[in-house]
Symmetry: C2
C-alpha cells in the first residue's frame, strides 16, 4: 500500500533540480535516442506547453514548453511519422513526454514513500498565450536540446512546503 508516511523525506529545490536533469536524460535519451544537451541558461520558448500537476508530500506542476515545429519533430521521432502542424496526436505525444518526465522525477525524488501523485496532462497551444505560476511558489527552469529541437522545462513547487 502506498501512503504518505509522516516521516517522508522532502527533497530540497536543489535536489529536485538535480533529479529533474537525470529524468530529462533518461526520458529524452530513451525515447528519442542519444543523450540530450541540458543547460541552465535558457531562452523561454512557447507555442505548445504540456503541463502535468502533482500533489502530496510536495505539490506543484511540471511544464514542457516548445515551439510548435519542435513539438511536431519530437512527436514524429516518437511515432515514426511526419507532422507538419500540431494536431491531437502531437498534443497527446507531448502529454506523454511530460507524464514520463514527472514519473521519472518522482522515482528519483521518492525515498521511503511515494513523494507525490501525478495528474493527467493538459496541453496548451496557440500563437499568443503566457503561463503564470502562483505567487507563493518557486521554480527551476532547465533548457533541453534534443537533436535540433529546443525545450524549456519548468518545475514549479509550492514554496510553503
Amino acid at each position: 500500500m502506498i501512503h504518505n508516511a509522516p516521516n517522508q523525506h522532502i527533497p530540497t529545490m536543489s535536489d529536485l533540480q538535480k533529479n529533474l536533469k537525470i529524468a530529462l536524460s533518461d526520458v529524452f535519451g530513451t525515447m528519442l535516442g542519444g543523450a540530450p544537451e541540458i543547460f541552465d541558461e535558457i531562452e523561454f520558448v512557447t507555442g505548445l506547453s504540456a503541463i502535468v500537476g502533482f500533489g502530496g508530500g510536495i505539490s506543484g506542476f511540471l511544464a514542457l514548453h516548445s515551439k510548435p515545429e519542435n513539438a511536431c519533430e519530437i512527436a514524429g521521432s516518437m511515432l515514426g511519422m511526419h507532422f507538419s502542424a500540431v494536431d491531437d496526436i502531437v498534443c497527446d505525444a507531448m502529454g506523454e513526454v511530460v507524464n514520463m518526465l514527472a514519473g521519472s522525477l518522482k522515482k528519483y525524488s521518492s525515498t521511503n514513500a511515494e513523494l507525490f501523485k501525478i495528474s493527467i496532462p493538459t496541453i496548451v497551444w496557440g500563437s499568443n498565450y503566457s503561463t503564470h505560476a502562483p505567487r507563493n511558489s518557486e521554480q527551476v527552469l532547465v533548457g533541453v536540446k534534443s537533436r535540433a529541437s529546443l525545450f524549456t522545462v519548468q518545475l514549479v513547487i509550492n514554496s510553503d512546503y
Copy 2:
C-alpha cells in the same frame, strides 16, 4: 495519517458532475455573494484558464475558463479592487478560485479516504490559445454565471480509472 485505502470508493462521472455543481454553488456563493446560475448547455469561453491537476484514486484536472474581463470582475469582487486588465493579482485570484473548487470537489467526493491530491494551479492567458485533454480521458463541462460573468468549468478524468 491520510492514505489511499485499497477499498477506496471511486465515484462515477455522474457523481463527480453532481459534486462539481455543489462545489460551484459553495465556492461562488461564499466568495462572490449570491448563488450562481449553473447550467449544462454552455458556450466554451477562453481568454484566461486557471487549471489545477490532481492525482490519486482518480487523476485528472479541473479548469476554469473565462474571458479576461470576467476574470478581472471576479478578482475585483474577491479583493474589493478594480482591475481593467489581467495582471499577476488577477491570475493569482483565479488560481485561488480553481484551487478552492478542487478542494470542495474533493471534500464532496471522498468517503472513507482522501480521493486525490491537488497540484498548485497554472494560469494560462492570451488572445490565441486552445487547451487539449489526453485521448484516454472523459470530461464534464458546466457553465456558470455569477453576477454578469460567465465561466466554463471543465473537469477531465483519466478514463482508465
